[in-house]
Amino acid sequence: MARIDLDLAHSYLPDPQQDADYALLPLQMSFEDGGAYALLGPSGCGKTTMLNIMSGLLAPSRGSVKFDGEDVTQRSPQQRNIAQVFQFPVIYDTMTVADNLAFPLRNRRMPEAQIRKRVGEIAEMLELSGQLNRRAADLAADAKQKISLGRGLVRPDVSAVLFDEPLTVIDPHLKWQLRRKLKQIHHELKLTLIYVTHDQVEALTFADQVMVMTRGQAVQVGSADALFERPQHTFVGHFIGSPGMNFLPARTVGGKLEVAGRTLALPPNLGLPDGELKLGIRPEYVALTTADDTAALPVTVVQALDIGTHVLLTGQCAGSDLKIKARLSPELAAPQRGDTVWLRVLEAHTCFYKNEELIP
């Protein structure tokens, strides 16, 4: 096990000129020993590139990778002693399940008795014990993926285990059980686990620390509630949560806030600089209120959709084409399309952004 420090940039082009040429913009990041991390972002954000750089399948075009302070940038995956699980099951067709699991250990010449013990433990953990003697090729996709997971976890001394969207092929209703397994395994084995995914549930459920990435850039590293409550970047606000955060262009003038042609009273000691900024509020925190509320905007209801657990209201701010979404309790009587309602947008959870970055 090891602490991993990255200080690097990567481009697939020989001579990158601008930001867009980089698959990974210059970044510094440390993964603590024994932590559970997730890299979250849409496809093409650079998360798999980063994973492959850590595992040693890819060398960064600039900078270094350090394991426990030692520079391993030029070392192969074997030398780094890293395990990786891929998106699609990779199994050795001709081997049994047990041989598949033992393969990484045999390659490292571990004594056979120890191998058997270790394979038994991992199989137990992944509920594969009953199938150990079956040919791996005959199993269903999710069992195959469990074998891939098992091969990643079987080595007791790995520096880290890297997962590249490992649950893609798993049936939706089985996913949560495997997520639970992974979490349990993290608890029991205390391995450093790094998990790449585009699925917010997967990332937030699995990891203690989630790194949100977009366009080759890491925009925030934090826990699930930090990402949800205090997004450091508008992209995080947009990407986490469904629907994502509402963003309203605003302007501060002498302690007052101008939004959509209205002036709202700002609470004191927010310390916002004067000028253009963006107001961010999650649909979960937007509340119905009355006209006398000085923190509210009048909104024409475009749609009020009963989504079972909540009512999802989409409104248009009066006098502009700004849209705002609110997730309202189903126990209140839902407004009707065309109604004008007042929505409170300034409260404790409201965030303010300048140049897409959170104003602290």
Binding site: W176, H198, A224, L227, F228, S242, E284, I307
Partner: protein, 361 residues
């Protein structure tokens, strides 16, 4: 357009894929076909399109029987879950192709208008293979819309996209559907998607059409256990129970005060199933709530919600809590449940009691 399916069934070889069903999707509205994979959604949709013929029954459009009519002569549009475009044509020609075939005028202008509605106006000169998945699907949607067909079929059009992209495109779609005047049929496996699309929903399972009606109504009052199971995500918690004088008694759990229909209430030995939606389980107790103590198996966090999997005395349950909550694996946790928010199904799976909802019937 008025689409009516009468006694439609489909067999492939000896195997039934669709059991006899009648369906008249609401004219000029969105109808969601909801069901797991293999439920028969695609088969039904292909019959509606005219790509397949039903083994029995007839398809009527505005009262006219079109069952055997080749697809070319029907006026329909279809979007698949794979991103299907003509690879050898540029985006602009792809969108224009149904218009050109009908020899219409102002093609260029209309293609541009559609492209800008779907935010692909800058991609018109590219080939489909050069686009991302989301963009390819936008092109396919634009081509389908270009036809202006009165019947538009979409077979899980968003399933192969990242979830955020899915959200964006779904919202645009609802707006497009609302603006247009076509009958839209939209197949999906996700209950959440059906709810977000609104409109009407037809729930399918194993080749059967189970229930059809306004989406919210089907969701809140599923006629049967099968519908409830198919139309809930996370899955509805189903607990074994028996009828007692007070209401129902959960097997190895507390009793809930519910007024059962008189016939059931009389039969105190009846096996019942109590259905509890994940969102009906709460952390804070309210008056009249019943407590369900248990142990946390896993807390799944989506940001907006936290889904807690819990082992309790009455079995495994899932609760949906708003916002981010942390629970350690194996931590004790008590959830609360209001008897007014449960469903009760009889031994045959038919709905006996559904929760009252504000503004609802």
């Amino acid at each position: 357009m008025e689409l009516t399916l009468e006694g439609i069934s489909k067999k492939v070889g000896a195997q039934p894929w669709l059991y006899a069903m009648n369906l008249a999707p609401k004219r000029d509205a969105v109808t969601v076909l909801l069901g797991a994979t293999q439920a028969g959604k695609t088969s039904l949709m292909r019959i509606m399109a005219g790509l397949d013929t039903p083994t029995q029954g007839s398809v009527k459009v505005d009262g006219k029987d079109v069952t055997g009519m080749p697809v070319r002569e029907r006026n329909v549009a279809m979007v698949y879950q794979q991103f299907i475009n003509y690879p050898s044509l540029r985006v602009a020609d792809n969108i224009a192709s149904p218009l050109k075939l009908r020899g219409e005028k102002n093609i260029d202008q209309r293609v541009r208008a559609l492209a800008s509605r779907l935010h692909i106006e800058t991609l018109l000169d590219r080939y489909p293979a050069e686009l991302s998945g989301g963009q390819q699907q936008r092109v396919a949607l634009a081509r389908a819309l270009a036809k202006g067909a009165p019947l538009m079929l979409l077979d899980e059009p968003l399933v192969n996209l990242d979830y955020k992209l899915r959200e964006e495109l779904r919202e645009e779609l609802t707006q497009l559907f609302a603006a247009g005047d076509s009958t839209v049929i939209y197949a999906t496996t996700e209950p959440g998607e059906a709810l977000l699309l609104g409109g009407y929903t037809a729930v399918m399972d194993a080749g059967e059409l189970l229930q059809y009606g306004p989406t919210a109504e089907v969701f809140h009052a599923p006629q049967s256990l099968r519908v409830a199971r198919a139309f809930s995500d996370p899955p509805m918690n189903l607990l074994g129970a028996a009828a007692v004088t007070l209401g129902v008694q959960l097997n190895s759990g507390p009793a809930l005060a519910i007024s059962l229909p008189p016939e059931t209430a009389k039969n105190l030995t009846a096996n019942l199933t109590v259905g509890v939606r994940a969102s009906a389980l709460r952390l804070q107790a309210r008056d009249g709530d019943v407590a369900l103590p248990g142990v946390v198996e896993l807390a799944e966090i989506s940001g907006s919600d936290t889904f807690v999997h819990l082992t309790t005395g009455v079995g495994e349950v899932v609760a949906q809590l708003t916002g981010v909550h942390y629970f350690g694996l194996g931590a004790p946790l008590t959830l609360h449940l209001s008897p007014a928010q449960v469903y009760v199904f009889d031994a045959q799976g038919a709905l006996l009691v559904a929760p009252k909802r504000p503004g609802g019937p």
